[in-house]
């Protein structure tokens, strides 16, 4: 694709077809190299809607910890209810 835009590929061969070289003495057909994805794993699902989470991050963490505790098997009521921190694994930070 000439020196202006480099040799970068595009997914659609018709892209950049409207470009005309500034130097008319050296006409070069500007068809970019075309690459197609070989799989569709990275495509978003067609009905995906991206919205902002209403709960702030503190409340999200609090709810997550509560759900984690609920998922753990219930213990007898006579046991000490404050969980030992040694058996909890630090959750990987999302950021």
């Amino acid at each position: 694709m000439g020196s202006m835009l480099g040799d970068w590929p595009s997914f659609d061969p018709h892209n950049f077809s409207q470009l005309r070289p500034s130097d008319p003495s050296s006409p070069s057909r500007m068809t970019p190299a075309t690459y197609h994805p070989t799989h569709s794993r990275t495509l978003p699902p067609p009905d995906q809607v991206i919205t902002t989470e209403a709960k702030n991050i503190l409340l999200r963490h609090i709810y997550q910890r509560t759900e984690e505790k609920d998922l753990r098997p219930k213990r007898a009521a006579t046991e000490n209810l404050i969980p030992e921190h040694g058996c909890k694994q630090q959750r990987a930070s999302p950021y």
Binding site: K55, N56, I57, L58, L59, H61, I62, Y63, R65, T66, A77, T78, L81, I82, H85
Partner: protein, 514 residues
């Protein structure tokens, strides 16, 4: 972004460079390194009032008359004077410019406490609704300590006969609405028992163990939204009443409504008789969440804050603990309560490491500031500032569990208790937190000047806040307390020094950029 410290070269650089994304406020703040309140007018002659604070948008200075009956509002301005000499910079300010009135214009005074009654303004309490420029001020009759319990009220808590919250439009001093509580007690010291979030106001009534949620409408009305305590859902009262009288159950398909709606709750003075045999709604929720056996003491809701429009952080403590913040002797519990689902989402003891880790990482989300208030979103805390974080980590490494309990003792936060002034930004200045900080609590006064040192190279001393003239005070034994009021964005601050136990008037100094 700025390579040099000189203000002129910074202005030139500002013309060329754009700040990194999301940092425009912090970049603009760096100009405060160059504009500092280095001049002081000592012991300025001013009206004998107790100055409470600057509103967070910097529009008003709120103060109360010495007899605690009037609200006095000033507009912060700037002095103006002219000098006809040739070498003006060498001249000091003319004496007629060194007045309180040069910096503050008196707008109006409003009498809030009635003279015939024995009501007084609670001078430690003031909340500001920035979106509409409304102020909330409380007046109360003296507190009575020999309280005998009645109904759902608990013993041992003092009460006042009449406690009134006034909603005032600060533009002109018009009282828009009032909310009155009778035979109740709310801890108003430093805004502790009340929390304002956007337009929602949460008031923790210690005597009746109820949390009242009110909404402040744009029209200036204080509207009851819900009351959590005896009843968690609006139709609980109806359900319990009808249950007692053995009539058919009412239609329970009417679910709780959103806080935006104008829901009128029944008054809480008349409790149904069977309430004594049932635990109050919130306590029942608490007990059903935790298994009994952790603590045999009864815990009552003492302090509250909003985490967002639906979630409250409620501190349950014994009666004495609710009134003070001293966390050493007793255990208290903190619960996250969802007002919509009336469920307790999470529950922690006040020494829980889990809660402390959340507090360390997300401190800013406990300082819930409304979206309207730009300035309050940039207050330095250990979650948004590396210097503050290093400071608490170094203290934590020395005494871990006591430290955690002490830090968690500050939860739930008092609303609007931090100053948004850029001079308290830990990235800009270093200062002794024991002597001065963004918190508006008064602290022990010192004769030594309080230094503000630049964080960045060359780490020079930028300005000092000194409470008294160079001569100092001869009598070193009288205990003095000092409080500081910093304007949110002008290089202007008031320092007020008061002598305890003596009836001397307070000494007010004005610090400004000369």
């Amino acid at each position: 972004m700025f390579r040099r410290n000189n203000i002129a070269s910074r202005i030139f650089q500002r013309q060329i460079y754009t700040p990194a994304p999301g940092t425009s406020v912090y970049c603009a703040r760096r100009f405060y390194e160059n504009l500092v309140p280095s001049c002081t007018i000592y012991d300025v002659e001013c009206p004998d009032q107790s100055f409470r604070k600057f509103t967070d948008d910097g529009q008003y200075l709120i103060s109360f008359s010495r007899n605690q009956q009037d609200l006095v509002v000033y507009r912060p301005t700037w002095l103006s004077f002219s000098c006809k000499e040739e070498d003006c910079d060498a001249h000091d300010l003319p004496p007629k410019a060194k007045r309180f009135e040069s910096f503050f214009t008196h707008l109006y005074s409003v009498s809030l406490a009635s003279c015939n009654g024995n009501e007084l303004i609670c001078k430690d309490f003031f909340l500001y609704v920035e979106s509409n420029q409304y102020g909330i001020i409380a007046t109360s009759t003296p507190s009575i300590h020999d309280a005998a319990a009645n109904g759902a009220a608990i013993q041992g808590v003092p009460y006042v006969e009449k406690l009134t919250f006034h909603l005032i439009r600060l533009e002109d001093g018009v009282i828009l609405d009032v909310k009155v509580f009778h035979n109740d007690f709310v801890n108003l010291t430093h805004n502790m028992g009340v929390f304002l979030y956007d337009d929602l106001l949460a008031i923790a009534s210690l005597r009746n163990q109820t949390i009242h949620i009110l909404q402040i409408r744009d029209s200036g009305n204080l509207v009851d939204v819900r009351a959590i305590g005896a009843f968690c859902r609006e139709d609980d009262e109806l359900f319990l009443n009808s249950n007692a009288q053995c009539i058919a159950f009412p239609d329970k398909s009417k679910l709780h409504q959103l806080p935006g709606n104008n829901v009128q709750n029944g008054t809480h003075l008349s409790q149904p008789n069977q309430e004594d045999s049932l635990l109050s709604g919130i306590k029942q929720r608490l007990l059903s969440f935790i298994f009994q056996g952790i603590s045999n003491e009864e815990k009552d809701p003492a302090l509250v804050q909003f985490l967002d429009r639906q979630h409250l952080l409620i501190k349950f403590g014994s009666v004495d603990g609710g009134v003070s913040r001293n966390a050493d002797q007793h255990t208290a519990f903190l619960a996250v309560y969802n007002m919509e689902t009336t469920e307790i989402v999470a529950f922690y003891q006040n020494s829980a490491e889990e809660l402390y880790l959340l507090f360390e990482r997300f401190c800013d989300h406990f300082h819930t500031a409304s979206k309207n208030s730009v300035s309050m979103n940039f207050v330095s805390s250990h979650s948004n500032n590396i210097h503050a974080l290093e400071q608490i980590r170094s203290v934590k490494s020395k005494a871990s569990s006591q430290f955690m309990k002490k830090m968690l003792g500050s939860l739930p936060y008092s609303c609007q208790s931090l100053s948004p002034s850029p001079y308290f930004d830990q990235s800009l200045f270093r200062f002794d937190e024991k002597l001065i900080s963004a918190s508006d609590r008064p602290r022990q006064s010192t004769d030594h000047p309080i230094k503000f040192i630049l964080r960045r190279q060359p780490c020079s001393l930028k300005f000092k806040i000194k409470l008294g003239p160079e001569a100092g005070n001869a009598d070193g034994r009288t205990k003095k307390i000092a409080s500081f009021l910093f304007h949110p964005f002008l290089p202007l601050a008031l320092s007020i020094q008061q002598t305890l136990f003596l009836q001397q008037p307070s000494v007010v100094n004005i610090h400004f950029r000369g």
